[in-house]
Amino acid sequence: MTPAIFNSRAWYRYRSEPLAVFGLGLLTVIVLLAVLAPVLTPYPDHAGRFVDFGNTSQPPSSRHWFGTDLVGRDVLTRVVYGYRISLMIGFVVLGLAAPLGVTLGLVAGYMGGRIEMIIMRVTDVFLAIPALVLAMAVLGVLERTLINGLLALAVLWWPWYTRMVYNQTRALRHEEFVVAAQVVGASHLHILFREILPNLLPSVLTKFTLDLGFVILVASALSFLGLGVEPPTPDLGSMVAEGASYQPDMWWLPVFPGLAILLVVLAFNLVGDGLRSMFGEGR
């Protein structure tokens, strides 16, 4: 029995893009690795506070595919555990930012007037500061904890959703189905979330998928600068930063975590592009 989705027209359209299928496969592998990390990785205890000074800085070998780091931990294990934290950051940040941004965009686009002006001016202000710099500033003044890092990223991500949803809502607000709902006396809440929002879900979902990759990318940049998760938690960005000072002799230290970041962002990007053409927005 195949699930219904695999017989659907949408899946047929998605399947016709080879790159999108490749991306979905890559993403599945990454998510499985992250979820099953304790079972799949060769040295699960290397993810935490572990030292083996007899085995430091070993180049890649059959025992340690990605080599070992300065205190003798298996780099492959730490990369896989790094995916856990990356994926968690992506989902939590967008789980906060997307609903907030979408709601504000809906309200601004539908209500118009002074509310629209205030919301969109605030959005402009947030969009006028490069995302990475704003996150750095917020993390600069707050305590550098994981929660604050997540909040900083969410704070800089919502305006993108507001702007996108705002533009689309404005295009829809005088459509006949909206006017019809107004005529029969539907509440604003009903019109916003039941009439307009469903039309926007495809583009929101596409953007959400693409952004999962980009949030992971920005988060890794923050931890590369030393503003990320505290050690010894394995984090891809800080692993690259640590290893960067030991290249070229210990090239495996920055290269494998770097490739790992590239692959997860690539996977979300390909799936996002696939969704876009599945929803018929592709060119």
Binding site: D124, P130, M136, V141, L142, A221, P248, G258
Partner: protein
């Protein structure tokens, strides 16, 4: 005439946003837990010293008064004293900003001069091998963080192949030109010091490419997408019927309308590069704002953080305004929409 009105309106809009940015940054800086004066003076300072610092930072006054003073100082170009270097933030930033700007400008040039033609070729030969290769290159550019590009490029071209220098802005042995624009390459060229120009160019290649890769991919994909759309228009068919050469069609009829939406996104990419410059500068030990910016953040130097973010945002707004004006110049519909 109308372009002027558009320009003034746009200037006003940018100023409003800049005021908003200053409020936002001022607000963020006040999120700091604990007493900023105590953080600035360190745990060894006496209560009187901390009180003096509170006076100097205006911390004893209401927030609105604090903000007013902040803006007054700002208009005089005074961003306060860096609590980390003990020098004025303005001079700290001015001494490191040109190196960052030089890097970002070089990256923007690479992004435009390689990305746009790549997109044009891909659009012209749609679904060919060139198109697919360009698409893949663009994708890799977008999904790889700039610090990872920096490390990959450094490993391959500086360490393994030894074509480019590993780090820095110029060799220690190089003669330095008199400062005119503070952009080293430009200054050396003005002074006619060609060996220095060459040396500086060799130093900037890797960091500039590392910084440009993301935007380069976006530029190529956007140009390709927008141009493909234009290629489907009837006036292109008409031009073909009149036996214009493909080169003329591409440059005169397809590229110009396709550039309008592309340019706007390139402005956004410029902003992203200003932020990413921090990452690339750290890898290549580039003497720009990055070290200062990261240092003030780690030391919770309030004035330093506010100054750094404000300067970067101001640059971003200026660049976007210029882009908007160029777009308006290219697209009469925007120029006249307010009439």
């Amino acid at each position: 005439m109308n372009l002027w009105r558009y320009f003034l309106g746009r200037l006003l809009g940018s100023l409003i946003v800049l005021v908003g940015v200053s409020i936002l940054i001022f607000g963020v800086a006040r999120l700091i837990p604990g007493d900023p004066a105590r953080i600035a003076m360190g745990p060894m300072a006496s209560a009187e010293q901390v009180e003096l610092m509170r006076e100097r930072l205006r911390l004893n006054e209401p927030v609105v008064v604090q903000y007013g003073g902040f803006v007054r100082d700002l208009l005089r170009g005074d961003l306060g004293i860096s609590l980390y270097t003990k020098r004025p933030v303005t001079s700290d930033i001015l001494s490191t900003l040109p190196a960052t700007l030089e890097l970002v400008i070089a990256a923007a040039l690479i992004m435009t001069l390689i990305g746009v033609p790549l997109g044009v070729v891909a659009a012209r030969y749609r679904n060919s091998g060139v198109d697919r290769a360009a698409n893949l290159a663009a994708l890799l550019g977008v999904v790889t963080p700039s610090f990872v590009w920096a490390i990959f490029l450094m490993l391959v071209f500086a360490f393994a192949l030894d074509i480019f220098p590993i780090a820095g802005r110029v060799s220690r042995s190089a003669e330095l030109p008199p400062t005119i624009t503070s952009l080293l390459i430009l200054d050396s060229a003005i002074a006619g010091m060609w060996p220095t120009v060459l040396d500086a160019l060799r130093h900037i290649v890797l960091p500039a490419f590392a910084l440009a890769m993301g935007g380069l991919g976006t530029a190529a994909r956007l140009t390709r997408a927008n141009m493909s759309e234009v290629y489907d228009r009837q006036y292109i068919q008409l031009a073909r019927a009149f036996a214009y050469t493909e080169r003329e069609i591409a440059c005169k009829y397809a590229l110009r309308p396709a550039m309008v939406p592309t340019l706007t996104i390139l402005g956004l990419d410029f902003a992203i590069m200003l932020g990413n410059a921090f990452l690339v500068e750290m890898v290549f030990a580039w003497p720009g704002m990055a070290r200062y910016g990261v240092e003030v953040i780690i030391r919770k130097d309030l004035n330093g953080i506010v100054g750094t973010v404000l300067v970067i945002s101001a640059f971003f707004l200026i660049i976007n305004m210029i882009i908007d004006i160029v777009v308006a110049y290219m697209n009469p519909r925007i120029r006249f929409q307010n009439r």
